[in-house]
Symmetry: C2
Subunit: 363 residues, 2 copies
């Protein structure tokens, strides 16, 4: 066990935005909340997954809703607390630790704020190794952990406890309740034993996020190329370099959907790249080639600062570098591809790993 203080949070926020692949909500809000909580309640204990007892109860905490709504409706922290209290009552058991459900933006950081507030440790792991837009898109689900009992709580004092036959029904009902409850709520979701966490989680996500943040910050102060350093750390690929020339973004059914067009610069001069997103970036391609596809990670970095840009942060004229990162092996199984591969999102492609796509493009 080690402790996370304010410097660690600053680095984690950068890593969370990068692994968030454009989605997961603005990490800035989560960072501010986590820092405030640390200032008030002290550093947050971080537990390695291997330190969990098999029968410990671990409950991920996550915000659900459209990122654009989250930016306007900042959570107070009471919602997360209310969701945990309600779930403890349902389970009739004490929750031992919380955990991020995803390695993306606000949802990497909100569990840290909650942990500080209620004096619980955070488990160093998550259920995606990236961000995804739907509740069942987690490795917990791939490994058969039940999505429910799931508690949704809003800032007004309403909560609901869902018990569904599968994760898809949980997603459907929770999504519609979220819309009615004001567009974003806090969830206490996928309650698990320590044993289930060990089997189904992605390990050491917070430590990786912290390393990503530190790598980018240190590269800059050491005069190194921060993008190259990050690609080395993550076994990633530089997909495309250019300038955003068009961005189309709509809130639809609780999601932010759209497409960005990037006009090539440097070695990509004369080409165009396109990114399709639904909260997160799902497909990156040029007019002739596919560059990267979900569940592999597509991230947009500011070419100058090497800092990640969220879908809502993309602006006309920004100079950006697209990078692709191999996802966790759990996502490359047939079930992983079924749950979060290109066809689930309506793209008529067979999944091809980013490393294969980029060998091919290099020929």
């Amino acid at each position: 066990m080690r402790y996370l203080g304010i410097e660690e949070i600053e680095n984690i926020a950068i890593g969370a935005a990068l692994l968030g692949t454009g989605g997961g909500g603005d990490p800035y809000i989560g960072k501010i909340m986590a820092i405030q909580a640390i200032e008030e309640f002290g550093p947050i204990p971080l537990l390695d997954i291997t330190e969990l007892e098999d029968d410990d109860i671990v409950v991920p905490s996550a915000m659900m809703g459209a990122p654009t709504v989250m930016v306007e409706k900042i959570p107070s922290g009471e919602e997360a607390l209310a969701s945990f209290k309600a779930l403890e009552k349902v389970l009739n058991k004490k929750i031992k630790a919380t955990m991020p459900i995803e390695a993306g933006g606000v949802n990497s950081l909100l569990p840290l704020a909650l942990a500080a507030r209620i004096g619980l440790p955070v488990v160093d792991g998550d259920g995606m190794g990236r961000a995804f837009p739907e509740l069942q898109m987690v490795t917990f689900y791939l490994e058969g952990v039940s999505t429910t009992p799931l508690v949704l709580a809003d800032e007004k004092g309403n909560n609901l406890v869902l018990n569904t036959i599968d994760g898809l029904w949980a997603e459907k009902i929770a999504r519609s309740a979220t819309m009615v409850m004001g567009g974003s709520v806090m969830n206490a979701i996928y309650p698990m034993t320590g044993r289930q966490v060990k089997q189904s989680a992605i390990y050491r996500t917070l430590t990786l996020e912290e390393k990503i943040g530190r790598t980018i910050r240190e590269a800059k102060s050491n005069g190194l190329n921060a993008i190259d350093e990050v690609l080395t750390l993550l076994n990633g690929f530089k997909l495309f370099t250019g300038k955003i020339v068009d961005i189309d973004r709509q809130t639809d059914g609780g999601f932010v959907k759209g497409q960005a067009k990037i006009s090539g610069l440097d070695s990509n001069k004369g080409e165009n790249a396109y990114i399709n997103f639904q909260n997160e970036h799902l497909i990156a391609k040029t007019d002739s080639n596919i560059l990267c596809m979900t569940p592999d990670l597509i991230t947009v970095l500011d070419s100058e600062t090497a800092l990640p840009i969220t879908t809502e942060g993309m602006r006309y004229g920004s100079r950006v570098t697209l990078i692709g990162i191999p996802c966790d092996e759990k996502w490359r199984t047939p079930k992983g591809i079924e749950v979060a591969g290109p066809r689930y999102f309506g793209y008529d492609y067979d999944f091809i790993p980013v490393e294969k796509l980029n060998e091919r493009n290099d020929q």
Copy 2:
């Protein structure tokens, strides 16, 4: 305590359709389910409210959704059972009896089917003395009983437990979940103590429904005018006699909304009457006068058979008699008018009791 058998159910179904003021779903479905349950499990014990112990737990059972959906998606009985089991777990108490939430159509009869199935008595009362379209439109709510914990269960095996700050939020969230869960669900709602039932319920609704059914059936076999007999029983008013010449009905936001136009016959020849409904009939008027308005009861009877017609049963060409019945005094309080009066439904009228409106029309 007395027992309800098949003959009583036949009469109750007629009374329920009449007090249902056009809404509450097709009583036929509820009747079939109650009769099947009695055939399988025996007669249903009916408890007078005065027979309840003060600390007995009583939980009304009701279907939520658009009546037109209910007709196509008949409940199996498992949903109601599942909602009760889930609520007992939440309350951590044994439920002693069930009760209808409304005196309208299917929701008067479904609690009888549930009671037979799980061997609980039914309380002779309800929360409306009629039917209304929204969850907070009950005398329980007027008297400060909490709508939640409220359980919604569907036929697939999903359930959700709502805890909201008030009845309006319960209505809003439950309505949207109902739509996603297939358009109709079973609720276990307004859990109450015997003491709360005594304070807030409308007394002897099932007995009244049974009397209405018996009055109509006996009048016919005795050659009496069944409509006149019913009006005497209920202190009601004959509002208008005519033929349905237009009917406009739409499913909108989980409700069936619309208007019917009736061309006058007999003493109303030359006039037109109009009924506005949202699941239930809300306003009856002619070109020059208002005849009756919510929360008073507006019911459409077949002029020939004296049997009540639901909003979904209204057909072009049917000869009908509109009757108006004073609602329970609980609805005529300022809070009752606020919750279920004309302005709540968007009609710019002050509430005037049906007996006043019909004095005036008689001048």
